[in-house]
Every structure is written in structure tokens, then in C-alpha cells.
């Protein structure tokens, strides 16, 4: 026990004097958690709170053009800037290059006329199908000019699709209104009243959004709940830079040779490193979680809500940390130089993070990656954390994530022992 304690003391002393290693282990995850959460949170707020600047050039002088303008405004997503009807597409593009807005809409000049024409044709078809006589069935509606949507190339496809969805919804509203009016007029030979119009068109069934949680809470997950656990896992595994390098240094500077001539098994050194760095991973998690709880709100970011099962969080953190430490030691044992350990360690962590769902959500992965994803220990760490932080689960709910993680950890330990044996180090 005294040998183990002396070795832990030695490792802690060396670690505390490795300033670069400490920066990697603590500053990097803090910066990552803050930056990524802030970026994702601002995107979230842009879609939900802030409005997207949109240029609107309505060349139509009729009623439908105005209705479309109003419907777009009601969508609540856009900060509309009206342009003069005479502005050309080229001039609007120039404004967009000047970053006046990232999207612009041009409503064609004959929009109202064509919409009415199409509405009459649709109404006539409907009446005809009801067995009523109509004289406008032959009206040709194929000549309606499309609404032009100009967008800046920086706009991401998913965001563009959500804008298109909002526009289609506004357009549908205008078209439906005209069709309804036309049918009503054909049947009743009088205009549709505003009250009835409102009753028919604006009385949509509401959608109720409920996050599925195990504890029955209705908290809406936010960027903090997603990012803080994810980047904590990333940080834990990034101790490969410090720990892998420490193992390589010990091999290269001759300490290993001296240790082999002493009456103590090198497994004591391995156990010591695991305990010392496991403690570091626990401190890392405590620091990043604390920042999420106490610092984020003062920065305008959502506060991190710790799960009710704190013991579950501790055990998951402990197992994730053990896996990270085991991986770092394995990299150190198999690396010939410190540069190799740093390079292989850093690249492998980024790759495992990518395939493990830290950079891209696991459900968005192609099916061919689903198996590879399960080989990444970071995937199981993340799933276990999400089970606690997002789903409000308890330890028993994430046991199926912990078991594969333990399996991977034991496998890594076996490979490390094989490497030490093969290199005659134990």
C-alpha cells in the first residue's frame, strides 16, 4: 500500500508540474463547452427568439400579394424589409451581398390575378365534381409565375428548408383563401364574411410538444444539456495528451529500466496512474458541470440542470473516466515517441468523437456507420450521460450503455497488458 501511495504521490506531483497538460485537461473542455453551447444556443435563439432579416419585393399591387406579405409576417420567423416594387433581381442580389439580409422574396407583378384565376379554376373543378354547372372549367392556370426566393450561399440547407416550409405555409393560406372565396361565391352568389373566413381558415388544430423523459418532467432540453455532458466526455478522453505522453516519457527517459530492476511489479505503476488520472477525470467533470450550473447563466446561456440521480452521474463519470484513462495508457504503451502518442491520441479521440455521435447526432448517422459507432467508447459515454441529463433517467435506465463501456474498457486493459508483456515491460 505504501508503494502504491508513493507512486500516486509521484504521479500527482509530475502531473501538477505539467502546465501544458493541465491546460489541455481543464481549459480546453471549458472553452469548448462555452463556445459550442453559445453557438448552438444562438442558432436556437435565432430560430425561436430572434428574427431572420428578409427582403421583400412585392411587385404585385393586388390583394393576394398583400395577404402573402401579411402571412409571412405572421409566421414570426422574419424581420421583413420592404423594397420598392421597381427593384430588379440584380439590385436585390447586390443588397444581399452587402449583408442587408440572407434571404429575399420577390412576389411577381400578376400574382393576385393569377392566384384568383387559379382559384376560380380549382373552385370550378370542385363544383363540377359536385355535379354543379360552371363555365370557368377550361381556365388555364399553368402560367402562374413562381415566387422567387433568393438566398445567401452561407445559409445552411436545413435552415433554408425551414424557411421554405414557412413560406409554403403562408402561400397555402393565401391560395386556400382564394379557392374558398371562389367556391363560396359560386354557390351563394355573395362574398364570404370575415367571421366565416376566419372560422374556416384559421381554426387549426394546435400541436402540443412534449419531450419524452423518464422521470415525467417536462423540461425542454437546451444547448447546455446537450453540450456540457458531450464535451465533458471529450475532455476526459483528451487526457491522452498528458497521460499517454507521461507513459512514453517514462519509457524513453530510462525510468522504466530502473523500475524493472526494483523489487516491485510495474502493475503498481499502472494502477497508480489509473487512480491518479481517474481522480483528474472526476475533477474535470466537476469543473465543467460547475461552469454549466453557475457560470453559464451569467453569460446568458441556459443553466445546466443536474439529473436527480447524482449517484448515477458519479458512477457514469467514474466509468467514463476509467475508460478514458485505460485508452490513454494503451496509446502510451504502444507509442514509440511522445509526438506519436500526442498525434495518434488526439486524432483517434476526434475520430471516436465523430463516429460516437459527439459531433453529429447518432440518429443522423448513415446506417453503415451504426455498427462502427457502437465501437466508440465515447458513444456509450454520451448515451449514458444523455440518458441521465436529457431523458431524466436513473442509473438502472443507462445500465445497457454502461455494460458495453465496461466491456470496451476491459478489452483495452487486456491489450495494454499484452503490449507491456510483448515489450518485456512486465
Amino acid at each position: 500500500m505504501f508503494k502504491l501511495w508513493s507512486t500516486i504521490l509521484k504521479d500527482v506531483r509530475i502531473l501538477s508540474r505539467d502546465r501544458l497538460g493541465l491546460v489541455f485537461m481543464f481549459a480546453m473542455p471549458i472553452v469548448l463547452a462555452i463556445v459550442i453551447t453559445a453557438v448552438q444556443n444562438s442558432t436556437f435563439e435565432m430560430l425561436n427568439t430572434n428574427k431572420v432579416p428578409m427582403l421583400l419585393c412585392n411587385k404585385d399591387t393586388g390583394e393576394a400579394g398583400k395577404q402573402l406579405e401579411a402571412a409571412i409576417g405572421k409566421a414570426g420567423m422574419f424581420d421583413l424589409k420592404q423594397l420598392a416594387p421597381a427593384e430588379s433581381e440584380k439590385e436585390i442580389s447586390a443588397r444581399m451581398h452587402a449583408k442587408d439580409a440572407v434571404i429575399a422574396i420577390i412576389i411577381p407583378a400578376d400574382f393576385t390575378a393569377k392566384i384568383k384565376e387559379k382559384a376560380k379554376h380549382t373552385a370550378a373543378k370542385a363544383l363540377h365534381s359536385f355535379g354543379l354547372q360552371t363555365d370557368s372549367l377550361k381556365t388555364d392556370s399553368s402560367s402562374i409565375q413562381p415566387i422567387t426566393l433568393l438566398y445567401h450561399p452561407v445559409l445552411q440547407e436545413s435552415f433554408r428548408h425551414s424557411i421554405q416550409g414557412a413560406l409554403r405555409s403562408a402561400l397555402q393560406m393565401v391560395q386556400s383563401k382564394e379557392v374558398l372565396k371562389s367556391i363560396y361565391f359560386s354557390i351563394n352568389e355573395k362574398e364570404l364574411t370575415d367571421t366565416l373566413e376566419n372560422e374556416l381558415l384559421n381554426n387549426q388544430v394546435a400541436i402540443r410538444e412534449i419531450p419524452v423523459s423518464r422521470d415525467g418532467s417536462r423540461n425542454i432540453p437546451n444547448a447546455t444539456q446537450h453540450n456540457v455532458p458531450a464535451w465533458t466526455v471529450f475532455a476526459m478522453f483528451f487526457i491522452v495528451i498528458s497521460l499517454g505522453g507521461s507513459v512514453v516519457r517514462e519509457k524513453l527517459n530510462g525510468s522504466f529500466v530502473r523500475l524493472k530492476t526494483l523489487p516491485t511489479n510495474y502493475l503498481v505503476a499502472l494502477l497508480s496512474k489509473q487512480l491518479a488520472y481517474l481522480f483528474v477525470t472526476l475533477v474535470q467533470a466537476a469543473v465543467v458541470f460547475s461552469i454549466g450550473i453557475w457560470l453559464f447563466p451569467s453569460m446568458g446561456l441556459p443553466k445546466l440542470d443536474l439529473p436527480a440521480d447524482i449517484i448515477g452521474v458519479f458512477i457514469v463519470t467514474l466509468i467514463c473516466g476509467w475508460c478514458a484513462v485505460s485508452f490513454a495508457i494503451m496509446v502510451g504503451v504502444f507509442s514509440q515517441t511522445q509526438e506519436q502518442s500526442n498525434g495518434v491520441g488526439a486524432v483517434s479521440i476526434v475520430l471516436m468523437a465523430a463516429i460516437g455521435g459527439l459531433l453529429v447526432p447518432s440518429f443522423a448517422m448513415p446506417s453503415s456507420f451504426q455498427f462502427v459507432m457502437k465501437l466508440s467508447p465515447l458513444h456509450w459515454c454520451l448515451e449514458a450521460y444523455y440518458g441521465l441529463f436529457l431523458e431524466g433517467g436513473k442509473l438502472r435506465d443507462v445500465i445497457l450503455n454502461i455494460l458495453p463501456l465496461l466491456g470496451i474498457t476491459f478489452f483495452i486493459q487486456l491489450i495494454t497488458l499484452y503490449g507491456l508483456k510483448r515489450k518485456n515491460l512486465i
Binding site: 505504501f2 508503494k3 508513493s6 508540474r17 527517459n253 530510462g254 523500475l259 530492476t261 526494483l262 523489487p263
Partner: protein, 249 residues
């Protein structure tokens, strides 16, 4: 050979992938209390033989006994009997001399009080008491060599293996190290020493063996070897027995 510190019989060793063996049926005996010097040109097998004796390399044939214990069978248990001072500075430069001695003392099997006593004594004898809490990476080459030596002797080994312990140090440090080693020997520690510093070896060693091409070509007291080969110094004897050709081409 009941009072042999090291007894090597029919030693055969070959590195993996190497065609010719380093040693074939090599015999060597070092008596307890000797200050034994092992010399030879580069590539002669000095370090390999020392690594076999300390258990760092596993040999394929023969036996090596250390203080009567076969090292192939009881490696870890007999590691307490010997100390090793490698040519490389084999310790943690981020730590102070006291911290290094504390760690290596624990690994050598000493308890807390023994470590404290030996640390105070060694740092004092080797002139490191004033810098006991400074990081070794700030030390001169000579001071680092003394730390390297202190770690090797903290557990008072019966046999001390020294692989070029004074390489790259100034005259004062060399003098201090050699004197300290003689003191250790007077207290009963057997010294097994290799170096290219032949004048230092003449001062330190009373028994000398020359190894060349994996074979012991001379082994006797230094005075007897000089008489037998009509030489007046170890350097002349070395050239006489091993020739003048470069060996590390």
C-alpha cells in the same frame, strides 16, 4: 564459489532476429567484496552482459546466480539484493532529489522512516542537501549523475551494478563519486562497473575483466594483468588485448 556475488555459467544469449549469438558458453565469477571492472571496446557486449545480470534481458542458455540465487527463477525477489546505476539519467527530472529518492526508496522496499534516514544521509554525502527540494531538471550534469547514483544505492544493495556512472561529469564530481563508491565497497558492497574512463577504472577497480566479441579475454587482478602482459597501465593493456581497429563501424 560459495562467496560469489555473481556467478555466470555457460551463458548463451542472442537478440531476437540476430544471426550470431552475443554470448556462447560464457563463464564469469565475481567474488563478494570485489571492485570488479568490466571493460571492452564498443559493441563487445558489456552492457548486454550487465543487462543479463540485472534481469533486464532474458537469456536463452546457462545460468546467472546473484548472491547464490538464480535470477531466471526469482527475478523480483532478488532485485532487493542489487542496485543499478544505468548510464542514462533514469529518474524523474520534474521531481526534486528528495522526491525521487522517496519514490524509488518505496519501490526498493524501504519504509517511510528508512527512506527519510537514507535520503538525508545520501543527499548530505553527495553534496545535494542544499538543493534537496529543487527540481532536478534545473541541475548541472554532475549533480544529475549524483542523483542517479543516490537512487541506485538508497536500499543499501549487496551488489551494485554501475554502467558508466561518471560519463560527462567534471573532475570534482568524478572524484566524489569514486570516493563514495570506495566507501560503499569498504562497507561490504560488491561493485560491478563498466566505463571507458580507464584512468578512473585503474583508481577504482581491483579486479578487471576484458570482454571482446562476446568472450572474456582476460580476467584477473589489475596488477597481475599488467605484469603478465608487460604493460604499465590499463589503456596499454586494453590496446594490447583488443587491437587498434575501430569496433563500432
Amino acid at each position: 564459489m560459495s562467496n560469489a556475488a555473481v556467478s555466470i555459467k555457460n551463458l548463451g544469449f542472442k537478440y531476437p532476429g540476430q544471426a550470431a549469438p552475443c554470448f556462447n558458453d560464457l563463464d564469469l565469477h565475481v567474488q563478494q567484496g570485489e571492485r570488479f571492472g568490466l571493460f571492452g571496446p564498443n559493441g563487445a557486449g558489456k552492457t548486454t552482459l550487465m543487462n543479463c545480470m540485472t534481469g533486464l534481458l532474458s537469456f536463452q542458455q546457462g545460468s546467472i546466480q546473484l548472491m547464490g540465487h538464480e535470477i531466471a527463477h526469482h527475478k523480483k525477489s532478488i532485485n532487493r539484493l542489487f542496485g543499478f546505476v544505468p548510464q542514462d539519467l533514469s529518474f524523474y527530472q520534474e521531481l526534486s532529489p528528495a522526491e525521487n529518492l522517496s519514490f524509488f526508496g518505496a519501490w526498493s522496499g524501504l519504509n517511510k522512516q528508512e527512506i527519510k534516514n537514507k535520503t538525508d544521509e545520501l543527499l548530505d554525502v553527495l553534496g545535494l542537501a542544499d538543493v534537496r527540494n529543487k527540481k532536478v531538471q534545473e541541475f548541472s550534469g554532475g549533480m544529475k549523475r549524483r542523483v542517479n547514483l543516490a537512487i541506485g544505492v538508497i536500499h543499501e544493495p549487496q551488489v551494485l551494478f554501475l554502467d558508466e556512472p561518471t560519463v560527462g561529469v567534471d573532475v570534482h564530481t568524478r572524484h566524489a563519486i569514486v570516493n563514495y563508491l570506495k566507501e560503499l565497497n569498504k562497507k561490504g558492497t560488491t561493485l560491478i562497473y563498466t566505463s571507458h574512463q580507464l584512468s578512473e577504472a585503474e583508481d577504482l577497480c581491483n579486479i578487471v575483466a576484458l570482454i571482446d566479441d562476446g568472450k572474456i579475454i582476460a580476467h584477473d587482478s589489475l596488477s597481475q594483468l599488467l605484469i603478465d602482459h608487460e604493460e604499465d597501465g590499463l589503456e596499454g593493456l586494453f590496446i594490447n588485448l583488443t587491437g587498434k581497429a575501430f569496433r563500432d563501424l
